[in-house]
């Protein structure tokens, strides 16, 4: 549903979300922050790999392959 807050891992191919404020100690989250996935940034899920994992995301011009277990650390506002 649009407008709900959910983990990045819950988005499907073609969905977009806006990163929510917060943060986690998880190394994955810290690295994503360093790459520019800041609270307030828009992120899009491009594709999902065979067997459902990992997911290909795009934000700020960067394309990234991310495992779902690491993507759960990021909370987003689903944009559609």
């Amino acid at each position: 549903m649009n407008g709900e807050i959910c983990p990045l891992a819950a988005l499907r191919a073609g969905d977009r979300g806006r990163v929510q404020p917060g943060g986690s100690e998880r190394p994955a989250w810290q690295r994503l922050l360093a790459m520019g996935l800041l609270p307030g940034t828009e992120v899009a899920v491009i594709q999902v790999a065979p067997l459902g994992d990992p997911i290909e995301i795009e934000f700020g011009g960067l394309r990234l392959s991310l495992r779902k277990s690491d993507a759960t650390a990021v909370q987003v506002l689903r944009l559609g």
Partner: protein
């Protein structure tokens, strides 16, 4: 500086992964680099000498990273080195930060963190050609004024900007150029002061503000240890309280740094870096809709792998035959020079020439394989392949990127193990290295061909023989999965790293770069594996040649004096010598160990002789059975000699040595055993001798177990 106080200026090279940092390092240092080790981590220490403008710098290439927030010992290396805490060395005199010109702001995040440690810096704006093509315009002079440090536009692969970089480094170091600091809010300064006071109370040493900020911002910063924080004491309360100062001011402590730095960098770069109106990366997007698609992408990937695999076998074959012929000719050419000294002659011809030939024969496969790997990497497809494969590999502790080493190992494990370097996660890298040699490499093929051709095909037909050949190649893969899982679960203790893989835009690779990398890797193989293979071949040669009492020859000549066939007599002499050689004695002594697998002493000798290189067993069996040591796996004489061999004593006396279960057991043994001294040597270089020996031990144990099970169950089932 006077001569006494003048010492070489030390420059560190930092940057995100995929920024061309390694290319730049190689360009600047050329052949004058050396590789060493930092204690306790798997990261290599790469340093070298860089001459520019009449001065010589010591250049240290630090591992590529996105941030100094280190969560693993490997990641800490960069931070420790820059803060002057590593290797009892002082802080470097300056830093060159390699930045991808197409992603300036993101890449400057790291530069900003490095600058926080108070180090003079130069920004190398690399891959500027790609940025131009993407329509991104950057004004280096303006950017330099805004940042406060020299900014040099570069295309390292073409050598553009190298001289300017040298001048900029001299300027930065001499004038202490520091990048503009983030204007930290007052809350951050208060939190830092609180933290500093708390550290002093615990007796920790005084730290610079930049280092204190690292402790504040990073969940588990390495700097805390370095500060001398007492080992038993829990830092969490102090850290929590310092971070509460931030929270009270409205900042989330774990994302504050990123938000503040990016805001600051945005201000600094907005005027100097301009993006085009329209996005021009649609080609990458369009390609990815197919290539990362869960069905089509996978199909393309499988096809790609088949093409690579087939190419290696198809194209390498003719070259390998040519090399064999050339080596044989060289042997024949050189032999007469040493005729007066038969032992030396044999050493040179069989040991040295044979050994060197055994190394060079691998080159065609290695070159072709590395050509494809470089092609996949440079076009950007490698990341897509890793994306598709990650789940499957990740399950047993490997990594999406493991597919290249494991695929390579089907041709030859040596380049496979070398290719594992691209895996950043040390745990996945180590597992990949330990498991790759299980893939059935092409050196095992002659053994399979001989066994199947001699014992499977005659009894069961060509179709089953073909199926058997396919099946035996899968045995290694089938065993690799549980082994990888077990190694990960029980043996390795490091924390798994997050798997974040950047998918770069697709681009057309430059053939020159590909060939250069292909050649570099091949050269590395020749030097590293080559020396080991030759050395081990000579050792085995000695064990087979000696002792050489003249009575043996005289005895054979006396027995066969009625024959007129001099080559048959020679072969019989060779067989007799081998039978009493040191290696054969070892074979007879060890035969009881292999008896449960149905091996007699001759097979055992063949197995022992193959430990440096697998295909040696063919020639060894050829010699033992009197067929001649240049017999190959297709030799009908050898096949019939094997088939006619009977046990002469013991529980199986009167029965044939080579039954179908025995042939299968031999194949399984070779499939699972690490009979390649060169692979062990390369594993030792990549992962350390402890792991290399562990790999050797577990594979030998598995091979023995597999052979025994195959023989016992096979005999039970087939009678």
């Amino acid at each position: 500086m006077s001569k006494e106080t003048a010492r070489r200026v030390r420059i560190a090279l930092v940057g995100n992964p995929n920024t061309g940092k390694t290319t730049l390092f190689n360009r600047l240092t050329g052949a004058r680099q050396k590789i060493g080790n930092y204690p306790g981590v798997t990261v290599e220490k790469k340093s070298g000498y860089w001459e520019s403008g009449g001065r010589t710098f010591t250049l240290v290439d630090l591992p590529g990273t996105y941030s100094l927030a280190a969560s693993s010992p490997d990641e800490r290396v960069a931070l420790d080195f820059l803060a002057g805490h590593l290797d009892s060395e002082e802080k470097p005199d300056g830093v060159v930060c390699v930045v991808d010109a197409s992603n300036v702001v993101r890449n400057l995040f790291l530069a900003s963190q490095v600058a926080d440690l108070g180090l003079p810096m130069v920004i190398a704006l690399n891959m500027a050609d790609a940025a131009d093509r993407a329509g991104i315009s950057i004004d280096p002079a303006l950017l330099s004024r805004r940042l406060g440090v020299p900014v040099v536009r570069m295309v390292a692969t073409r050598g553009e900007g190298i001289d300017a970089l040298g001048h900029a480094v001299v300027q930065a170091v001499d004038h202490g150029a520091l990048m503009a600091q983030v204007p930290w809010p007052e809350a951050v300064d208060r939190a830092v002061k609180y933290l500093a006071a708390g550290l002093e109370k615990e007796g920790a040493s005084r730290l610079a503000p930049g280092e204190l900020r690292r402790i504040l911002f990073d969940p588990r910063s390495a700097v805390l240890e370095r500060a001398g924080w007492p080992a038993g004491s829990d830092p969490a309360p102090l850290l929590g309280a310092s971070r509460d100062v931030l929270s009270a001011a409205g900042w989330h402590p774990l994302s504050a740094e990123a938000l503040l730095r990016y805001e600051h960098l945005g201000h600094l770069t907005s005027a100097a870096v301009k993006f085009p109106e329209k996005r021009r990366r649609s080609l990458t997007e369009r390609l990815d809709t197919v290539l990362t698609h869960r069905v089509w992408g996978l199909a393309v990937f499988v096809l790609m792998m088949l093409v690579v695999f087939q190419s290696i076998y198809r194209w390498a074959g003719p070259f390998m035959e040519v090399i064999e012929v050339v080596i044989a000719h060289v042997g024949q050419l050189v032999a007469p020079w040493f005729a007066p000294w038969p032992a030396l002659q044999s050493l040179i011809v069989d040991g040295v020439v044979g050994g060197v030939g055994g190394v060079i024969i691998f080159l065609p496969q290695i070159l072709i394989l590395f050509f494809f790997i470089a092609l996949l990497e440079d076009t950007g497809y490698m990341a897509r392949g890793a994306f598709l494969m990650d789940k499957m590999f990740g399950w047993c502790g490997l990594n999406g990127k493991s597919f290249v080493p494991m695929l390579s190992s089907y041709a030859c494990a040596i380049p496979g193990v070398l290719a594992a370097r691209t895996i950043e996660d040390p745990r996945a890298r180590l597992t990949t290295i330990l498991v790759s040699p299980l893939m059935s490499c092409s050196a095992r093929l002659p053994v399979y061909t001989l066994m199947i051709g001699a014992f499977i095909e005659p009894s069961f037909g060509a179709a089953l023989a073909g199926g058997m050949l396919f099946a035996i190649h899968l045995v290694g893969l089938a065993v690799a999965v549980p082994v990888a899982w077990a190694v990960n679960k029980f043996v390795l203790h490091t924390r798994p790293q997050p798997f974040l893989l950047e998918m770069p835009p697709y681009r057309l690779p430059r053939l020159r770069d590909i060939f250069w990398r292909m050649w570099e890797r091949a050269r590395e193989f020749l030097v590293r594996a080559g020396t080991v293979i030759v050395a081990m071949t000579i050792v085995i040669w000695a064990l087979v040649y000696f002792p050489r009492p003249a009575e043996v020859r005289e005895g054979v000549m006396a027995d066969l004096s009625v024959l007129n066939d001099s080559s048959a007599i020679d072969r019989a002499v060779d067989a007799a010598y081998l039978e009493q050689s040191y290696l054969a004695r070892a074979g007879r002594a060890l035969q009881p160990v292999f008896d449960p697998a149905g091996f007699d002493w001759k097979i055992t000798v063949g197995v022992l002789a193959s430990f440096p290189a697998r295909e040696v067993i063919i020639a060894t069996l050829g010699t033992i059975y009197g067929v001649g040591h240049d017999a190959d796996e297709a030799s009908g004489d050898l096949r019939s000699a094997l088939a006619r061999d009977f046990w002469t004593h013991g529980p199986r006396a009167g029965h044939p040595v080579f039954t179908v279960p025995v042939a299968l057991a031999v194949m399984v043994f070779f499939a699972l055993c690490l009979q390649c001294g060169a692979t062990v040597a390369v594993m030792a270089k990549e992962a350390g001798w402890r792991w290399a020996l562990f790999g050797f031990a577990y594979m030998t144990a598995l091979a023995w177990l597999g052979a025994v099970l195959t023989f016992q169950l096979g005999t039970l089932w087939l009678g």
